[in-house]
Amino acid sequence: MNNILEVKDLKVSFHTYAGEIQAVRGVTFNLKKGEALAIVGESGCGKSVTSQAIMRLIATPPGEIKSGSSILFDGKTDIVKLTDKEMESVRGSEMGMIFQDPMTSLNPTMKVGAQITEGLIKHQGLSKQAARERAIEMLRLVGMPNPEARIDQYPHQFSGGMRQRVMIAIALACNPKLLIADEPTTALDVTIQAQIIDLMRDLQEKTGASIIIITHDLGVVADIAQRVVVMYAGKVVEQGSVDDIFYNPQHPYTWGLLRSVPRLDNDEKEPLVPIEGTPPDLFAPPKGCAFAARCPYAMEICLESDPEIENVSAGHSAACWLLHPNAPKVERPVEVGGHHNG
């Protein structure tokens, strides 16, 4: 088995005053050992919820992982079926997680050292002293200068970038097989972003951990990931290797995403094109394709039923009616690999 993670038909809903929000509506993807996978999409597309479901961090209630979902970890354990107690021994030791905002994800009233050693003491049964030494080693590993002194400081004494390094040290302290990073660079300065991404790539090589990185920054995707999952309105609309997604995208939403960010690999001056409109209301998802209302290529069928996932090539698939043999041939926009027509 060389898949560390197999997510199959994951459905997550939140029950609120106003009704049920279907945040994730049947997501399927695999993650190979040692691979870095990026999940991209705009805010509210369900990418964070998916990552938190993998860690079982969805608060229930109001959240609920629907039956029929499965998250097979390391070929043997179905995360969805574990008891809370069993889950505790998986979290932190087998999987670690980094969150978006390093300013709020560390406990403000606890020394960073204690925040790193907690997990070590629990999962690896280390003595306080041994855990402390390991924590210092971890801090050094994540590039913290003077770790022996920094370990006894409180989070507010660190800068944002340094805090994110501490978070990475916490997440990797027990040598997890899987690291989930939920927008780890969004809240940081641009220069710091690059450092954190470099650090994560470096650590992945050293530890051999698999990574899921949630982001809406395609630059980050190109830097670190080998594979990409594109999500829209709680569903996977396209997935493939980084090359597939960047050079041979199939879904109009992916085209839209690619056209909305500047690209350095293209000589021509091209205007950035925003995706018009807003994502659908997940209280009442549309019957057809969720993207149809914003899609410039929408057809009648798109409003009536949801397209199935079609394989484009090995490891590359997309869910779009344009892939149907009966569909009219649509010329892909030039910026995302379409042909020049003069």
Binding site: G92, Y154, H156
Partner: protein
């Protein structure tokens, strides 16, 4: 930190001075004078009395003399009990009030925090509703309704506990419950809100993602952080407890300072009212300064920042 403490004390002193002046001004504009009630006084005797209390002097001299006396900790002599100084009366009655107040605040903190924590951990379940219903009743029904009811039904009708006075442990129970009730309820509500706030923080998610057990998360991460904002309201709550003693001592005939204060209002005992007002105010200001400092000590973000605020 030291600068912060000094600054707080400086403000405390200014506030106190404002209170002393205000008390002085207000008392000198009171309708009637302290001897108005004793109609038998001849004008001569009255003049002598005015002189002994310095009431015939120009107001500025009286003010200067008063401020000087207050800050040298002499609160003057009671008009009503001319043989006793206000200081003596405070010395005689304050320990009882302090005892009652301390009991009440201890109970309020322990029970209030526990209720709040239980409610938050069982958010939107029956324990939560139960705790919050108790708390909201506690906030809504004032001590001067609960006190007499307890005194009558538990004290007189059931006869389990003494309905009044302050002579030993069994006498302490009803006044303490009465006095702590509102504060306890406020505490429980605050703690619940604060806990719910912390539970939704990112760092709790981090703690969970480390695979810590529920108990560790609750005790090491949630409660510790949730208590921080509670410390800031301890000051105002102590103030409530202290003013509450005015009522509770009245209801249960506890021979404390509050009873004297209420009495001095009805007897127009100027010096007594002024003296006790200033003493109460000093106490309350001190309570607020102490909670501020306490907060500074407990919260590393304040403790370790240089130069106060």
């Amino acid at each position: 930190m030291l600068r912060f403490i000094l600054r707080r004390f400086a403000y405390g002193l200014i506030t106190l001075w404002v209170i002393v002046s205000l008390t002085f001004i207000l008392m000198h504009n009171l309708p009637g004078d302290p001897f108005a009630n004793s109609e038998k006084l001849t004008p001569e005797a009255r003049a002598i009395l005015m002189k002994t209390y310095g009431l015939d002097q120009p107001i500025w001299i009286q003010y200067g003399a008063y401020v000087k006396k207050v800050f040298s900790l002499d609160l003057g002599v009671s008009f009503y009990y001319p043989t006793r100084s206000v200081n003596e009366i405070i010395a005689g009655t304050f320990p009882t009030s302090a005892q009652l107040g301390l009991f009440a605040i201890t109970i309020a903190v322990i029970v209030g925090l526990t209720l709040g924590i239980i409610a938050a951990l069982n958010h939107n379940k029956s324990w939560d509703y139960f705790a919050m219903f108790t708390a909201i009743v506690g906030v809504s029904v004032p001590a001067f309704v609960i006190g007499p009811l307890l005194s009558y039904y538990v004290g007189v009708k059931l006869g389990i506990l003494p309905p009044a006075l302050w002579k030993g442990p069994e006498y302490w129970v009803l006044p303490t419950i009465t006095l702590s009730f509102t504060t306890l309820a406020t505490m429980a509500r605050m703690m619940r809100t604060s806990m719910l706030d912390v539970i939704n923080q990112d760092y709790i998610k981090t703690a969970k993602s480390k695979g810590l057990s529920q108990i560790t998360i609750v005790f090491k991460h949630t409660i510790r952080n949730a208590i921080m904002p509670i410390i800031t309201i301890l000051g105002p709550l102590t103030v409530n407890i202290i003013t509450g003693t005015l009522v509770v001592e009245q209801i249960f005939a506890v021979p404390g300072m509050g009873k004297h204060f209420v009495q001095s209002i009805s007897t127009n005992d100027y010096t007594m009212i002024m003296g006790l007002t200033i003493f109460y105010s000093a106490l309350l200001i001190l309570a607020i300064i102490i909670t501020d400092i306490l907060y500074g000590i407990v919260d590393p973000r304040i403790r370790l920042s240089k130069g106060g605020k």
